[in-house]
Symmetry: C3
Subunit: 495 residues, 3 copies
């Protein structure tokens, strides 16, 4: 009788998992996650706006708004096709079908929405690094290019069943399976590499080719801080990003019914702990360094905010396959990687990054990819990725620190270097061409006056002061209005 009951229970569970209701509910989960991820657009916008000077706020806000728009159109036109995330028989490098969602099953459409949110995030990461000097047209072209082509290629590598670095290789027509990279495939659960490193490396290429802002380095090449104009907005953005991360990381399970909830819950916990330890460790380390160097102790919220984000970036690849303890360690090391990367960028490489996006997303993203190769436990890798199909034992490779050998770590390194090479190369060429064409950067006059006055319809803060008389007079001197409404042309005539 008990056996009968158990058998019936099993049959019902099986039937439920095969039902439309399960599809509906997993769709619900993924869509809800996507909405949380889209909160990150508001977050990036506020973080970046608050981190630049008031005279450039309006332009950077426009760029953030527009790349959410461009991302939608381009990810519809080409991005989804290039990514080929649901296509098992594409080549290993790039997807070649389902452009404009042609041939995508209606019941799988929700995946586009989730991936759109990721594409928009990857794109927006760069806006801050190019802030205060890149032209709007250059930024728009960049958005089109990265979302339509560069970014989805990387996601194809790692998340498509056809991708060369993917841990999800699919069955071939003859019943065999493509082999996994180093017998393992790389682990990048939610995109430390595919999203954050892509953004970070692109930011590095762009910022390096743009050159530093006027006044960023003194005659001896020492960096002079250029603080942002609104810490409240910047930290609001940080909080919104943090919230959005709970769509980003747990949502990457791409479903909840079917026993995924254990994984999803663990991802929430590891994400939280890594972000928290990243924030705390960055703040304390910064204070310590500062004290050693100057004898001062000041608690800098912008450093802490970037540290929390670096912790979150670091955990994005390994979030599903590590323990809570490991998450804390990953966050702590992420904090140091961020501080080191930031110093390296600003003091050694002399790349000017107004929001430290390269250090937060690029350097910490690299660390996240590596960390997945070190800290992933055997049990969690098996839980999340299942057995290796087409092999005899099906045993997954796991983290080196847990005795899993070097295969996974090797796969992570190859994947990481490939992302650096691909994005660095493709974006370096692209920004190089824009620079050569003379449309990458605004003129020094415009930059000195702030871009808003002449390019973006006037100050973001009309009628509430300004920056020591710089913005408005210069704007007038250049014969441009500062009106912001659709009536701008009217004002011109009145003058």
């Amino acid at each position: 009788m008990a056996d009968q009951g158990a058998a019936f229970q099993e049959q019902v569970e099986e039937a439920f998992l095969a039902s439309q209701a399960t599809v509906d509910l997993n769709t619900f989960f993924v869509i809800t996650s996507a909405i949380f991820v889209l909160i990150m657009q508001a977050g990036f916008c506020m973080l970046t706006a608050g981190s630049v000077r008031a005279r450039n706020a309006r332009g950077i806000i426009l760029k953030n708004l527009m790349d959410a728009c461009v991302a939608a159109i381009m990810y519809f036109l080409t991005g989804w096709g290039v990514a080929g995330l649901l296509v098992g028989d594409a080549n290993s490098f790039i997807g070649t079908s389902q452009y404009t969602l042609n041939g995508l099953d209606a019941s799988a459409l929700y995946n586009w929405f989730f991936q759109y949110a990721f594409a928009a995030a990857a794109c927006t990461i760069v806006s801050g690094a190019l802030a205060e000097r890149a032209s709007f047209v250059a930024y728009l072209l960049y958005s089109v290019y990265i979302i339509g082509f560069v970014y989805p290629v990387v996601t194809h590598w790692i998340w498509s069943p056809s991708g060369w670095a993917s841990a999800f290789r699919s069955e071939l027509a003859d019943g065999t399976y493509k082999s996994l990279l180093f017998g393992s495939g790389a682990i990048d659960f939610a995109g430390s590499g595919a999203v954050h490193m892509v953004g970070g490396v692109a930011a590095c290429a762009g910022a390096a080719l743009l050159g530093p802002r006027l006044g960023r380095y003194d005659a001896n090449g020492k960096p002079i801080p250029i603080p942002g104009h609104n810490v409240a907005l910047a930290v609001l953005g940080t909080f919104l990003l943090w919230v959005g991360w709970y769509g980003f990381n747990p949502g990457s399970a791409l479903g909840i019914v079917n026993g995924f909830s254990t994984t999803v819950a663990r991802v929430c916990v590891t994400t939280t702990l890594a972000g928290a330890s990243g924030g705390l460790m960055t703040l304390f380390t910064h204070v310590l360094i500062q004290y050693k160097v100057s004898g001062n102790v000041t608690w800098d919220v912008m450093v802490a905010a970037n540290g929390a984000l670096a912790g979150l970036v670091s955990i994005t690849a390994p979030c599903a396959t590590v323990t809570p303890y490991a998450a804390i360690i990953i966050g702590i090391i992420g904090a140091w990687v961020y501080l080191g990367g930031s110093y390296l960028n600003s003091h050694i490489l002399k790349i000017d990054d107004p929001v430290d996006a390269i250090a937060v997303h690029g350097w910490a993203g690299m660390w996240g990819v590596l960390a997945a190769g070190l800290f992933s436990t055997e049990a969690y890798v098996a839980e999340v990725y299942g057995t290796v199909p087409g092999t005899e034992d099906g045993v997954r490779k796991y983290g080196g620190f847990y005795g899993g050998g070097g295969s996974l770590f090797a796969a992570q390194i190859v994947y990481m270097l490939s992302v650096v090479a691909w994005v660095g190369g493709m974006m370096g060429i692209f920004f190089g061409i824009l620079k050569f064409a003379g449309i990458l950067r605004v003129t020094p006059e415009v930059e000195a006056a702030g871009c808003d006055a002449s390019h973006y319809g006037g100050s973001a803060y009309h009628g509430v002061g300004g920056e020591a008389g710089i913005v408005m007079p210069t704007a007038k001197a250049m014969g441009k209005g500062d009106a912001s409404s659709t009536d701008g042309e009217e004002l011109e005539k009145l003058r």
Copy 2:
């Protein structure tokens, strides 16, 4: 062997859909959607606050906060009853039962919460259009009136099984069905008409009767731009609205288990594409016009933000019944409708709308309602609305562009015009009475000084400058303090 297994599978699925768990899960979906919609309250507040001058920010923020409160109380007391969304035997014009939720089944209570979020959104649309000159008392009375009566009547028409324009007419006691408008009923999936047009038309009536702000038009009647004081807040608001739209549109499926997920996913996609194309097309069109007129090229984020919102408004009615391609086209046309409407309002009709709410929600809302009559495909209309009950073939009318004939489009036009007439009439009379009573608008002295100093407890930005010395001296000259705490 396969057959018994399939039969068992079917039986289990059927049993599941009839279970309490399905009710629970659909409730979960609708409540989650409602919470996202409520993020729009923060969005409207930030958008409006950033779009006015600093001297009026505090008052407009209060209005936004208060209409979230008034919406809750009024939609509880009368709104839900007037809307009668779950009542099949009410008359075609207005709901007449379930006031204060009396007689509403506990398992259907979640619907109130979702509809409350919509009511609050419809109400808040208007705040920006009346900004910088309407009195607080007038605005409060407006909130009570529109949420308690004017808005829910429209939702009754279109979303109640009793409503005359509804595509969901219910069975009568004798087993027959009421006939649908033009054999079709109007399609307004998430409320381009019922929410956005209601807000936009009410905004138009209010702004027209209020008259323009001091200094909005020069001696020749040419509009002079009055830029808002904080673009960062305004675009934060835009983003929060955009996020909220993903509760608004997909949530209007009112459930997810039962195969609705395909519809919900499509709605997410069409909503995204229309908003995006609206934003891009508005920006580029604006730059082009500006370049033709003045030779300048400036990229204006406020125009782009309003354009994205116009795209979102446009797709709100047709979001469930169109293809992604059509969504892009609807967003693009929505962009032009917005720009044209904005020009019409400010230059021809000379209605002063500080946030362009009339163009974004009113004009683009109209376009959205019409678009549903043109672009809705046969398959999607059938998927979302099912067959027409009580008819022989049950075939639904669909969009004119897809060969569906003119019935649906006719229904959309009649519905659209009815909303304009009803809201325009009811709100016109209402605002006129307030105007006649002399409580609609603040005095010119108060307006010139900014309303915050004298009416709202001082500047929103105490101690951080001010506007070229205007706010504080005037406030002092009027003998009012600028203290903000309860110790004032």
Copy 3:
């Protein structure tokens, strides 16, 4: 045949509720709720930042960001163990196992994430009350202490099956049950007491021991208003808190599948109505009082915002067990409790609370706990709490106003007083020690200049004016830089 169908239906439903899918879906619900609760972190940060003067914004923003971080680490290390929310055999006062999540079942891990979000909220309530004068180190120590120890003890009392005040006492080894407090146990569904009163009472202890800000009282002891610098941020915070409350209150059902949806929907409705009536009634009452006193009519949004929050706090304990009508009444009385409490604090007790946190969370929280003892209906208490286990009739005590007798109300009073005594005592001693050690408050010089210039790396609004020339000159006079980036130390050297 119909009977057979009904029997099959029942069997399937039973099987579904016993399935992993139900666990998955309840996890999904709780995690989604937790994410909404975490939006409150952004809300508290904006509310507090907007409510202080510009010269102290940067410091308070850091405190808000850091307690989200500290909460994660401390609730992981000790908090969850002390709370012992899933442990039935702990003692009645404090949990004693599952530290660092040891021994917590993976399928229950999602509970930690939800409870972390609550812990962070409880902690952050206090930041505003101590604003503009508490030192950063003191605040950090406070965060560690309250999240690691003081707050989880209270949640153990009320929400653990072992807690002395809990309405969920569990079965003992011998099959009997521990008796409920007054045969009832206290009702605190989402934490008017366990979260808001804890925050409010701790705020009171801290603010009282800190003493008022410079200039808060004139020579005659009359309070002088010190308005915040940004109402837009403050009300943004209020809206974000309101949204977060829809994770806080409905999420406390801790599940949705299993017929909980009726309760969850009711909680959404009562929460909405209490917040709304609180906001409206506070505004109108304030205007009326003001008119009586001074003849002026000014509509103050900060008062209304605090009133809405007070309404929301008031309904947090009784939200699941009261009717919509009762919710409106509870909100209205909450409005008056808030206004009275605020007057009492500022005029009689002369406790300086920059954001009125003590009145909003402390006083209205007390009212919420009491209201649950008065307004809870028989049917809803039975629906939410079930029958009393181990008793003959199993009938639950309910609200005094509905003829339920005084047992529940008595339990509420005892619970409420215990929270006041525990938190007041533990935090009073703690803040007393910090004061004695001289690390509780910044120096008068720093306070007069604003803490940001000297302690937090400069103004939150670099380059966009300042406060009547106060911030910058003083900062310079003190020989401190106002740079905000990691290059701060570099600037020092340059000077």
